[in-house]
Point group: D2
Chain length 139, copies 4
């Protein structure tokens, strides 16, 4: 996305502050969080009010919030702090894993849940790759 070009430059300047991130990995994490936030919002809405889907509706609502917050933290380099950023990315992978697990159980009954499970899996993977790049950098 063109809008994040400036962000990339800002982040590059953070390298001398010990906050270096792999820029490609960060862009992928931002995009995956954005897609997952949208998928989870729609899935939560579609499942709310369906008998037996309480866990799915609730978990998707939480996952949408966590992905949105993680994404916006990645877009705020000025005050970024290593420990908090890592902890938030870990919370995001945990939430995506929990949401994916639930949506997968009824993915064959609902195209929305199948789409949501895929978005959760992709977001979990993208945040994990970003985490790996941040940890490798610390060595």
């Amino acid at each position: 996305m063109e809008t994040t070009t400036e962000l990339m430059k800002s982040m590059a300047r953070r390298k001398d502050m010990g906050m270096a991130m792999d820029m490609a990995a960060m862009q992928e994490a931002i995009d995956a969080c954005s897609t997952c936030m949208q998928a989870c919002t729609m899935c939560s809405d579609a499942m709310g009010g369906m008998d037996g889907m309480a866990v799915c509706a609730s978990r998707c609502a939480m996952c949408a919030e966590v992905c949105g917050t993680t994404m916006r933290m990645l877009m705020r380099p000025a005050g970024m702090e290593r420990t908090a950023m890592i902890a938030m990315l870990e919370a995001c992978t945990a939430m995506c894993a929990a949401c994916m697990e639930e949506c997968r159980t009824h993915a064959d009954m609902s195209a929305t849940c199948a789409m949501c499970a895929d978005a959760c899996e992709a977001c979990d993977a993208a945040c994990s790759r970003l985490l790996a790049s941040m940890t490798a950098d610390a060595v």
Copy 2:
């Protein structure tokens, strides 16, 4: 975006409930809100701490929230209510206009503000088109 295909189908089903929306206009509004939320988040972060940029940093932070909330409301067809949806789209156009006006005043000094002003203008226009399609439908 593929993830919103299911949403479009849900919205189409709302036509018999007096909530018909132009699906292309809705998709454009969702995408414009998403881009504007990201641009405003980054602009708010980049301007915070710059002498004389208090209004810009604050207004961008508010615009990011308004765009995000508008986007997620558009993605929740199950409980969508005509009057509230129209009011929220109007709030979004007003917030985008106020943010654009501020960012434009220093767009020549900052590529981030120029990008943000463009995103606000596009979001204002996309939400206005969706509003027009909803109002036309009511006639």
Copy 3:
């Protein structure tokens, strides 16, 4: 709440910028938005997955977002802009009215919905009072 004392002082300084608000009305609106956001979040969670409660779960989720965004806009005086603030308060009253209307229909079956309907009604009223004070000021 003690934390908003500083905010009140900031807002008082806005009087010379044509953004005067009744400070008591603003504090009440902030508190009512906070309570309504919490009530709607819980109600959305409790109703999600209950057969026939799709509209309630969805509308509460939207109302929680709108109240939260309105509250945080009221807490950002630096960039506050009159037209956008009024439009957002109007969106908040419309969303609260729509959510209250839905929750009232099954308030006798669910203590959560009864609580949520009350919180929506109080938030609608508090935002309406703040709107009235802003409009009166403009005369």
Copy 4:
């Protein structure tokens, strides 16, 4: 807060699902997150545009989001998942610690930062106590 009484009852029912939480600790964490979200929103707004306050404004904006998301996750018992909830509480304590550290450095120059640092410290402590009660339960 009266509105959370129903939530407490829902959470009590979760005990047989291995998600027992100390209800007093949870209520304190919810209240501390709410206060911290408000304090950080105001502090971010007050510091944005002040020369040299870029880190503070940015970190407060992130902390407000993290506290708000944590609070709403605690209010969604239906789909709560142990691993994700623990990870989010840990992200919240890390973010509060990072924000408090920054605000403390200029607390003597700004009453807003002093208030924000206190709110961050209290939220960090409350979330830590809730985490301790969840971990103790797992033994």
